[in-house]
């Protein structure tokens, strides 16, 4: 009797031991808690890259998609013959340098979706500004030059402080706090050209800016910027909801009017 009981015990414990061993023998990956980052004014590029790498491979869970090559473009290795992310980031969008492109990609995942992939599910609101910048620095370091500095963090901190919803990604556009009144520069800085074509070039995700003045009045254009999700432009019903509704907060009245005047004149 005791022999049978012993055998049963050994079989049970042996089975449990086997499963425990197998689970311990595979690569061990933990889900870490994102660390709060604070950088001093003299933060070095290496510091930023190191922090970004930890976030990228750990709590950011970036590697769940970037690295598989199926859910998202490879960032650490070549993608589509264009090199690593640090090599290709500066040429992805006309008019945006590497740093601005990477930051905009993180804070506004819908802005630049690489062809063949769905919109990124990264939720920037769960990460601090310093964490976002450290990720940008890390990605720049993958074959490119790290240009993120403490000035960038100060600038976006100031920009965030000036908006009513600092935690919202859409309020963190690369140069949202710019004081320029040049409409073309504003269109570029506010990433309007990621969806609207101008001068015969650009994606057709929103109405073309080249002849928008003949189709819409200045009043309609202004309303479209301030409250973009009320009415869809003809032919763009499917895009309703895509345009950020935050320009009323991020643009000054002078800047807004500069854009409206500029666009209304394009006939």
């Amino acid at each position: 009797m005791w022999q049978t009981n012993l055998k049963i015990l050994l079989v049970v414990l042996g089975t449990l031991g086997l499963y425990t061993w197998v689970a311990g023998a595979i690569p061990q990956v933990a889900s870490e808690v994102p660390e709060e980052l604070t950088f001093s004014d003299d933060v070095t590029a290496d510091d930023l890259v190191m922090a970004g790498e930890q976030l990228f491979a750990g709590a950011g869970t970036c590697t769940a998609c970037h690295g598989t090559g199926t859910r998202a473009p490879n960032l650490l290795t070549d993608h589509a013959g264009e090199g690593t992310i640090g090599q290709r980031c500066g040429t992805r969008v006309s008019g945006l340098d590497c740093k601005a492109y990477l930051r905009a990609s993180l804070t506004e995942p819908a802005a630049f979706v690489v062809e063949g992939f769905a919109e990124m599910v990264f939720q920037a609101r769960a990460f601090s500004d310093a964490q976002i910048w450290s990720l940008v620095a890390f990605m720049q370091a993958q074959g490119g030059e790290v240009t993120v500095t403490s000035d960038d963090m100060e600038r976006t901190d100031d920009a965030a402080a000036g908006t009513s919803a600092p935690a919202e990604p859409s309020g963190d556009s690369p140069l949202a706090a710019s004081q320029t009144t040049d409409a073309r520069v504003l269109l570029q800085e506010n990433l309007c050209l990621s969806c609207h074509a101008i001068d015969g070039a650009g994606p057709p995700l929103g109405p073309n800016f080249d002849d928008i003045g003949s189709a819409r009045t200045a009043d309609q254009i202004r309303r479209g910027i301030l409250d973009p999700n009320v009415d869809a432009a003809p032919g763009f019903d499917a895009m309703l909801g895509m345009m950020p509704a935050t320009f009323g907060q991020s643009l000054s009245a002078i800047q807004l009017e500069a854009i409206v005047t500029f666009l209304a004149a394009r006939k």
Binding site: K7, A23, V33, R71
Partner: protein, 586 residues
Amino acid sequence: MALTPAGLLAQAAEAASQGTVSIPAYGSFPAPGNRVAIWVAAQVHLFFAAFVLGVPMFAVVAEAIGIFGNDTKYDKLAKEFTRLLLVSYSATAIWGAILAFGLITLYPGLWSYLARIFAPTMWVYVGLFFFESFTLYLYYYGWERWHDGRAKLMHWSLGILLNIWGTAVMFIANSWLTFMMSPPAEVMPDTAPGMVRLWSAFANATWMPINIHRVIANVVFGGAIVGAYAAYRFLTSKTDEERAHYDWMGYVGNMIAIGTLIVLPFAGYYLGREIYEYNQQMGITMMGGFMSWAWIIQAFLIGVLFLAGNYYLWVGMGRIPGAERYTPYTKWMLVVLVLGVIVWATPHTMIANRDELAAMGGTHHPFLGVLGVMSAKNTAVNLMILTTFLSFLLYRRANKRTVVPWARTGTMIQTAIFVLAAVIVLFYGVYGYFVTAIVRIGFSVYQVLAVLAAIGGVVTLDIMIMRGAESYGAIRWGQMPPRSQYALLILAVTFTWLMGLMGFVRSGIRQHWHIWEVMRDTSEFAATPPLGYAAQVISWCVVIFLGLVGFIFWVGSLAEKPITSHPRQDSLPSTDSRLASAPTGN
């Protein structure tokens, strides 16, 4: 309300909000710490809860077979297990109390938050548990008194009522835990708990998928534990009668466990889809993030389940006269199962660092990448299910000689259905390599439907073909080699461990959130540990559970009368009445 922990904490939280009382966010548990303490309490409670919910389902079905099939041994079987429930209920309640007190003392902030939203449901929970317990007492202690006629039907109704109470209790508890996974979109970090609408929190996105998954899984678990109990009793039996009885019981438990297991992946697929629908990032974390290796372990475990379940059936065919004509096929079924396990357990998308990517020469291993994709895995698992179903079919037909004139044609049609289903599964498996991911995901539905249709069609035909079948001889219950019983024990251990693993995955994908994107875990145990660590905790939970269950079984055996007659050799569980007059094979 003031007399319950929930009420006290709700009041304390109210006072805290007025600045009069301070509630610490976390308590402290000595080594191994808060997380493991709560983890073990929750997991062992869940094991017992699954057992006390799964076994009544088992019991009420067995009693029904006894009543409507006029077969008293099923009635005895149902009663035997209901007796074990009495002690198991106590254990479930004890571990539930440990869990509740653990949450109150170690995670008071979280508990207070949940209590303020779910307080009314906690009262309903207690009420239902009260009714459930007393229905169980009536059900068990009234067994002999309400034994015949209408009284017996009323007694059986008590069994059904017991299941209804139990399921309702589980649904309520599920709402609390699924709220932590998938709180409604309108609940934000700064939303006061008093402002959260109860029904919105209760019927959250993953509530019903978890309910369905757990109901099915409980049946599987109940069957597996019944099988393990029978195996233990078989191995320690002193008489042929006992061996025959427990051999038969083990067969019934295994049939329920494996038969229901076949349906479980579909419920899991529904749950997974709803998690993705709720939050894609959570879904990706689950399937491709740091949890991705858990699915490889799961594949390994399910492979063990399929192999052990089929092995038990194949060995069992040794005691069935006439089964020898199917024996040559088993080696081919084994080949399909082993190949299926290999494909299913092939890693694909998982976290890899730069060095690992470089070592592999790309994002996928050049060889394994082809087998690791969902097309291959879905194909493998569907073929494994078909193969297991074939094992059951051969087992069922083993000692039967058909008498209907069209039996040969019918069998050929059955074969054609099997082949057609396999071809459909293979076709969509291969085609999946040539289409986009979104189209490929849709193919899995066609594969599943093909398998389910085949199972339904073949079973229907088989019932008709076997009408009036003669017997090659009665099953020689009790004449099983001991190794078959160890297969049943391994099945139970594996099911239990797998439940622990899936519990870790479900809970772990919240990562450092108590309540996903609403309440952060700011304790020192906020990080979710790797699988190796989780495996150790799970194993300890299984040891505790099985140790206690073993004790409960032993306690139960103290009160039982010795078995004086084994199942009639001529009354097989899945054969028709004509077998009653068939000669025995002994």
